[in-house]
């Protein structure tokens, strides 16, 4: 029996750090989804692997339905309102897409680190850093607009690379747990933002509101759909997904996948593990910061307190729900925007607390993880039978 256990321990993969969080386990099974080499097949394959996530979602919705019924709501009506809230008219649908933009980009960024088995949960902080850098350049740098736009993008990406690369370096050289460090940076960034908008960057003509001046109108992203808030940012968001799809089929993507799956094999294959940990973290955070840049010019137009909200957390769930692959993540981020936008409507019209959305989030995570546990049992049985 012992060798069987050992085998399972191996099959389920070891992570570079010694700790084992449920999240870690969750994506262990999900990680193998890591890109196949074939282009044509991978769409098909991704769809095929989607159904366990679908089941998790359906189960979560079903359980929440029971919860709704118990609290005296009609679940079907509540869900109908939710859908109506997300799709009901042009404006609502536009809002859903507006919400999809940062969630999609952030989740794609998160997935880069996750595929390297690096648990970057600092989406909020990195998004904030990206937005701060973008607005700072837009408001304070006295350059022509045409130059200020690329400069602000550069500033955002650099902020992400600095944070991610720095934390990656701490992880690679000192084995500082990235879960802790990224989480800490979240707090730092959120507080830093709060200080900035209350102090040095506060709009002098803003009647003391904790916010910065608006970025120049010419720097704002154009509106895609007249009469709504849907902005041009949707295009770069989808392009980011496409880029991620390509990235996992390049040498660099292969290396990050390999380091995540088995650092020992990676080292034996001549792949520098430390270098790739730093690279994965830097890229992951840079993409997250890019989400901040897009929202800064597409949506907010200025800095305010608590800009990121719970986007970073949602991104983690979306990345896992999407199986860490760009196609899945695109679908999952749209689904979550529906939940978030529709959930707000549901609260307004049905009196169902918005926290229901949080419960659905939590349940989805639980089901994804239990699927992993279930798979492990199956694997354990299979291996045991093989060994005898």
């Amino acid at each position: 029996m012992k060798p069987a256990l050992k085998k399972i321990a191996r099959a389920s993969g070891r992570s570079p750090s010694g700790t084992s969080s449920p999240m870690k386990q969750a994506s262990k099974k999900i990680a193998p989804i890591s890109g196949r080499a074939s282009f044509g097949k991978s769409f098909e394959a991704a769809a095929g692997r989607m159904w366990p996530s679908l089941i998790a979602v359906l189960l979560a919705l079903f359980l929440c339905g029971i919860l709704l019924a118990l609290t005296g709501h009609n679940p079907l009506r509540a869900y109908a309102t939710l859908l109506n809230g997300a799709f009901g008219n042009k404006n609502r649908f536009a809002e859903t897409l507006v919400k999809t933009v940062p969630i999609l980009i952030l989740a794609l960024g998160t997935s880069v680190a996750f595929r390297g088995k690096l648990w970057n949960i600092g989406g909020n902080g990195q998004y904030t850093a990206g937005a701060v850098a973008a607005v700072a350049v837009a408001v304070y740098v006295p350059l022509p607009i045409a130059l200020r736009i690329p400069l602000s993008l550069l500033a955002s990406l650099s902020a992400g690379i600095l944070i991610g690369g720095g934390l990656g370096l701490l992880r690679a050289k000192l084995n500082a747990n990235e879960v802790i460090t990224t989480l800490m940076v979240n707090y730092i960034m959120v507080q830093l933002l709060s200080w900035l908008v209350n102090g040095p960057m506060m709009d002098p003509e803003g009647f003391g509101f904790p916010q910065t001046p608006l970025v120049p109108e010419a720097m704002k992203l154009p509106i895609l759909l007249a009469g709504t808030r849907l902005h041009f940012g949707l295009i770069p968001a989808l392009l980011t997904a496409a880029a991620a799809f390509v990235f996992w089929r390049t040498r660099a993507g292969f290396r990050i996948d390999l380091v995540g799956e088995n650092p020992e094999v990676a080292a034996a294959s001549g792949v520098k593990v430390s270098k790739n940990i730093v690279a994965a973290m830097a890229l992951s955070a840079a993409v997250a910061a890019f989400a901040g840049w897009v929202d800064a010019f597409g949506l907010h137009g200025r800095l305010q307190e608590n800009l990121s909200g719970d986007l970073g957390t949602i991104a983690v769930v979306v990345a896992l729900l999407g199986g860490l692959n760009p196609v899945g993540i695109t679908a999952a981020s749209f689904f979550f925007s529906v939940l978030v936008v529709g959930g707000a409507t549901m609260q307004r019209f049905e009196g169902v607390p918005y926290s229901l959305v949080g419960i659905i989030q939590g349940l989805i995570i639980v089901f994804i993880i239990s699927r992993v546990v279930f798979d492990r049992f199956k694997e354990a049985r299979r291996v045991r039978n093989l060994v005898r």
Binding site: R36, S38, R251, A268, S269, R381
Partner: protein, 541 residues
């Protein structure tokens, strides 16, 4: 002979439709060592686990001393006088020998412990059977061989007269194996029945009185072992065909030096000296066997050569180039390839498919990678070619390697490491844990590489393997190469060196003393082995 101790009749056991044992009959007599021989997965361990109460048979009967018995748990088994020594020891490392043995045995002074009585019993048993175990030593400080003896002692203490040993020599040095065998002989002469699970022919030939051979869960042979029993005979029953163990006649003239190592020093993971001035050379077209008991620096040596571990001092010259400053990647590109010891841990990405596992070493070569993207079509074709060329049993290139059997996993590694005609091939325990068919295949592959002009450094703890295909044998002990010998110089010499004995005179002196510990060759009595003729049979009887 007298009344059998154990008679298993028509035992059948399936795991999810796959029969592991198919109506197996097995009889064990007192005062005999019964070899249970078969390849990996033949059902040996399953059968004994049924006897030990770990599994319930689907059908079939168990007779203990001619009385039908049903054994529901190991506890039942122990009460019935059955003891089992598992491959992996079930000892608590922080407790002493006495404490470990007391575990699971009701105390006569309940609720207090009767340590003194137990300790006395241990000392007595230890003397009777020459187990040589210190009852007060903490298990963490014992060698593997000693721990195994504690396991045996535990079984004896619980009153076992049927003793099952699952691959007991897998973890032992040749010398320790010989010690174990002499203990087993003592136990046998005392009337105990011993089942020895093994897939090593020499072992069975040297110690067993009877042998039952399993193949795919079915008994394919049952015979008493005599001086005339040959390996060939047993092999045929085990594999179902003749396996050519004769790899001789392959001695081609060797070429120039490919790898020259001198005065190499390195530390292990704990910072202790692992390589203490290793010097050796590997030539073109030869297999240099690196013999030695595990943990004498072989692993570290391989790591230093492949570049994943840094050396402290010393030189490594590979085809005239200084290897030391090169990165692992540069060494791979230069033609250094490696079959790692633990294929699941450091050789393969278990969750990945065969295709991706095959490109680990050359994913960035122009053959596999375009300017931006990896060439998916090329990777697919290459996998299909390799699967065909190396006869990898799989449903296809997209099957995860974790679904493959051990032998087929090793073939994936072989395909990857040998596919590009390596200049230097380091093979670490290349057949460990493989069945006999796969073992033969791997050895043939190594010989092929050699014939193609590669320099092969093969690390193995298995003397059989070392002697079969090596052109020269270097013996590693305590971080040093104690000697390089020709296979013709015999196993005793290598066995001595493996035990750290360089002085052949001392060797002779000890031999005349005639105790069992002096014959480290585990195949001492192997029939048809001219290297070691006429060692007295059952010398302790």
């Amino acid at each position: 002979m007298n009344r059998p101790l154990v008679r298993l009749s028509g035992i059948t056991k399936s795991f999810s439709e796959v029969p592991a044992n198919n109506s197996v009959d097995f009889t064990l007599y007192p005062g005999s060592v019964h070899g249970l021989l078969g390849e990996n997965g033949a059902g040996k361990t399953t059968l004994m686990n049924i006897l030990f109460g770990l599994y319930r048979p689907d059908s079939g009967k168990i007779f203990l001393r001619e009385k039908e018995t049903s054994i529901h748990s190991p506890l039942d088994a122990m009460k019935a006088g059955i003891g089992m020594v598992h491959q992996h020891f079930m000892l608590v490392r922080t407790l002493t020998v006495t404490e470990n043995i007391m575990l699971g045995v009701p105390s006569s002074k309940f609720p207090f412990l009767d340590s003194r009585r137990v300790r006395d019993d241990i000392v007595r048993l230890s003397e009777v059977y020459r187990l040589n175990v210190d009852p007060d030593a903490p298990v963490s400080g014992l060698s593997v061989g000693e721990q195994q003896r504690v396991e045996i002692l535990t079984a004896l203490f619980q009153g076992a007269d049927i003793l099952i040993l699952d691959e007991p020599t897998a973890v032992l040095t040749p010398g320790e194996s010989e010690d174990l065998f002499s203990i087993l002989r003592t136990l046998r002469d005392d009337g105990k029945g011993i089942v020895l699970i093994s897939h090593k022919l020499e072992e069975i030939l040297s110690i067993a009185d009877e042998v039952t051979i399993l193949r795919s869960g079915v008994v394919t042979g049952r015979t008493t072992v005599t001086a005339d029993t040959t390996k060939k005979e047993l092999t045929r029953m085990m594999v179902g065909r003749d396996v050519l163990f004769d790899f001789s006649g392959k001695k081609a003239p060797t070429g120039g030096v490919v790898l020259e190592i001198s005065g190499l020093k390195a530390r292990d993971d704990r910072g202790l000296s692992a390589l203490d001035g290793v010097s050796l050379d590997v030539r073109e077209g030869e297999i240099l066997g690196l013999a030695g008991v595990d943990g004498n620096g072989q692993k570290e040596l391989c790591q230093v050569i492949t570049g994943v571990r840094e050396s402290e001092s010393g030189t490594m010259v590979f085809d005239g180039i200084n290897l030391v400053p090169l990165s692992p990647k540069e060494r791979i590109r230069a033609g250094v390839r490696h079959i790692p010891e633990d294929r699941q841990r450091s050789g393969l990405v278990m969750n990945w498919d065969i295709r991706r596992n095959l490109i680990l070493k050359n994913y960035d070569s122009p053959k596999i990678s375009g300017p931006l993207l990896l060439k998916a079509a090329r990777i697919r074709e290459q996998a299909d070619e390799m699967i065909a060329a190396y006869a990898i049993k799989t449903q296809g290139g997209e099957e995860p390697v974790r679904n493959l059997s051990g032998g087929n996993q090793q073939k994936v590694i072989l395909a990857r490491e040998m596919g590009e005609n390596p200049r230097l091939l380091i093979a670490e325990h290349p057949t460990r844990g493989l069945d006999i068919g796969a073992t033969e295949y791997v050895r043939r592959c190594l010989l092929d590489r050699k014939a193609a002009g590669a320099a092969v450094l093969m690390v193995s703890a298995d003397l059989e393997e070392i002697f079969q295909i090596s052109d020269r044998i270097a013996v590693m002990y305590n971080g040093r190469i104690l000697g390089v010998v020709k296979p013709e110089e015999g196993r005793n010499r290598v066995g001595m060196l493996m035990a750290g004995i360089t002085d052949t005179n001392e060797d002779d002196r000890k031999r005349t003393a005639g105790t069992s510990a002096d014959a480290p060759s585990k195949s001492g009595r192997a029939a048809g082995n001219e290297l070691n003729p006429g060692e007295p049979e059952g010398e302790l009887r």
